[in-house]
Assembly symmetry: C3
Homo-oligomer: 269 residues x 3
């Protein structure tokens, strides 16, 4: 099953429009090439709808935001929805400023997502935001559940997106089924943008497998974690996080359906 997702992705070679932050843009482009897809990066409101239309899928990453790029996120997202292209959201640091909270609320109101990937704090911020928006709870603090599983399921049910929460273990849910993924290595936290990279990989796998977004998301999360493990085994005593960054992308490049089948560690809850 997981193997089919990556085989289909390598066959279709999806072209993904990424609107992303300038810190990790290069790694996002290279991981897309590693998995067999490719990227166009374009973030100006004056051209994003045309670029979206040329591509098969869209990844919206909220890192290093500014008003112009946030406008571009909305325009591209709406165009992708109109065209039926899968859209992935990576709400980087969405709770960190009023600008990002506002942008997070706006984008969930105006764009339908195939998948949303974030850490637990970001997911909680999104859930509070949607709740506040819908007037369910006047005090955003009170709407926050402490249970990440519940937040993920709720965000999925409210948005229709597959929700991926990354952390020590990862969660993948469509609001009904919830998978727990136990791949990965703690050292992945020492690589900047490993989350952004996963969101890009998600963009490719979901775009190549639009009828199976839950399985495509599960595959991306297992693949990224497994490649973190493979890369870790490759480290020499002199290697550190810079070499590790390269080895993870290298491992995505070399990942086979067989290796993924053997190495994926997940269970339905």
């Amino acid at each position: 099953m997981l193997g089919e997702i990556i085989t289909q992705n390598r066959r279709l070679r999806p072209l993904i429009h990424c609107i992303t932050n300038y810190v990790t843009a290069n790694d996002c482009a290279n991981i897309l090439l590693a998995c067999g897809g490719s990227a166009i990066m374009a973030d100006d409101p004056d051209e994003v709808t045309e670029v979206t239309a040329m591509c098969g899928g869209l990844v919206l990453n909220m890192g290093t935001p500014n008003p112009r790029r946030l406008d571009a996120l909305l325009r591209a997202g709406k165009e992708a929805n109109r065209l039926g292209h899968p859209v992935i959201l990576d709400p980087v640091g969405v709770g960190s400023s009023e600008m990002r909270r506002h942008a997070g609320r706006q984008i969930l109101e105006q764009v339908r997502f195939a998948a949303i990937r974030a850490n637990a704090t970001e997911i909680a911020a999104l859930v509070r935001g949607t709740a506040a928006h819908r007037g369910v709870d006047a005090d955003p603090e009170k709407t926050l559940t402490n249970d990440d599983d519940e937040n993920a399921k709720r965000l999925s049910q409210e948005t229709g997106a597959v929700v991926i929460v990354t952390g020590d273990t990862d969660i993948v849910t469509d609001g009904k089924i919830l998978y727990r993924v136990r791949n990965g290595h703690p050292m992945m936290k020492t690589v900047t943008g490993s989350g952004c990279q996963l969101s890009s990989l998600l963009g490719a796998y979901v775009t190549a497998n639009p009828d199976r977004p839950l399985l495509a998301a599960l595959t991306a999360v297992c693949a990224m974690g497994l490649c973190g493990e493979i890369a870790y085994e490759r480290l020499t005593p002199l290697d550190g996080n810079a070499s590790y960054r390269n080895y993870i992308i290298d491992a995505i490049y070399n990942l086979t359906p067989e290796a993924l089948r053997k190495g994926a560690k997940y269970e339905a809850d």
Copy 2:
């Protein structure tokens, strides 16, 4: 001959002003350092003319465009022309949006280039654009020749620039002589920005050899392709496109005139 170009470049250590996209800017700076030059990156219209004036050459890359950076491209280009500095154009994705098509037409009208490097689709878009602008053909589709050689020669004749078309084989032409370069490896397509990197390298070689732009361009194309081959031979089974990216830049760092002389594969058409 080719060896002299890189020797001269290492002797003069040209400082290149790069206005470039944020996806590949780091790799462009590192490949310039690898070849013996160096880069200043500055992209705001309020300062680009001053930065251009400090440098020996200018590389204008149209990736991740926005109105402010496009204005900077024009201003810097005109200042470099005024000072007699070589200017290189990399019209990234010039056919992808009206914003880029317009910018492509404007920049060819207002700036004289020593060299233009692009893929065949981008060259065709530029040729259509210049043709349409000159009123040669009302229907841009009809002005498109399917012959990349002809497009390259025509763009060279119209602009006075050496034109480089990269693809499975590469073309280098000054509108009269046309070289075909057979260096390179298909895996180079899996490294984001390998074209941007070549354009930066061109910037250094042409700046250090301003009286021989055709030979300097041929040298850059052979050098980049040859380093793609050297880097490929260095790959271990665990390596992928991330390590390959590093190995290509490493190979430029270590490239000698002798190795280039032996490894360059080109012929005049």
Copy 3:
């Protein structure tokens, strides 16, 4: 002493707000993770004060400036001052344009720095700028001393910041004591942003050791130089500046207090 600085930094794991250029942002984030800290990158004036407030320290890097990011530098710097967070300045190319000279004067007027790191040319430009501003000398050329030691001490005395001048040997001074650091390797000049990376490292060490900024700065300079030496020894004949870049960050990742104690080469003047 130096060992204590890095031990304390690894214990406290400071979160650093970096407003930095897009060329080296990824390396800056990865070197902060390598040393045991972490980074948030955010550069829009509408959100920087909130992001600064979430962090322990602030690094202001003036590379690839534009009016909006320069405004963000000032706002974030003032907020960090208000909160008592250490602020580091990296005045990239401050003498290169009127826009940067003006920004350099403004930022020294409005923000108090714990440390300023630059090369000798940039330090001289800042000293001229502050002098001109204070009306000490009508002709900026005449206020320039040729003695880098004196410039560094003077800038330190005028600003209250520890001043670090990087070059063939490095200077670290608080205006009274002046250390000379003899670590490092000439090949570090072939890695783009090695100065930016040092400024990020400074941000972490000073933030984790706010009562000892001189010692923290000396530690960062010795650590960066020593890791340049360690990385150089690791190079194989095929390696070049791209692998070297990775090896330096790897060495920071693996740096122990003992290795630093043994390898640091500095003397008080």
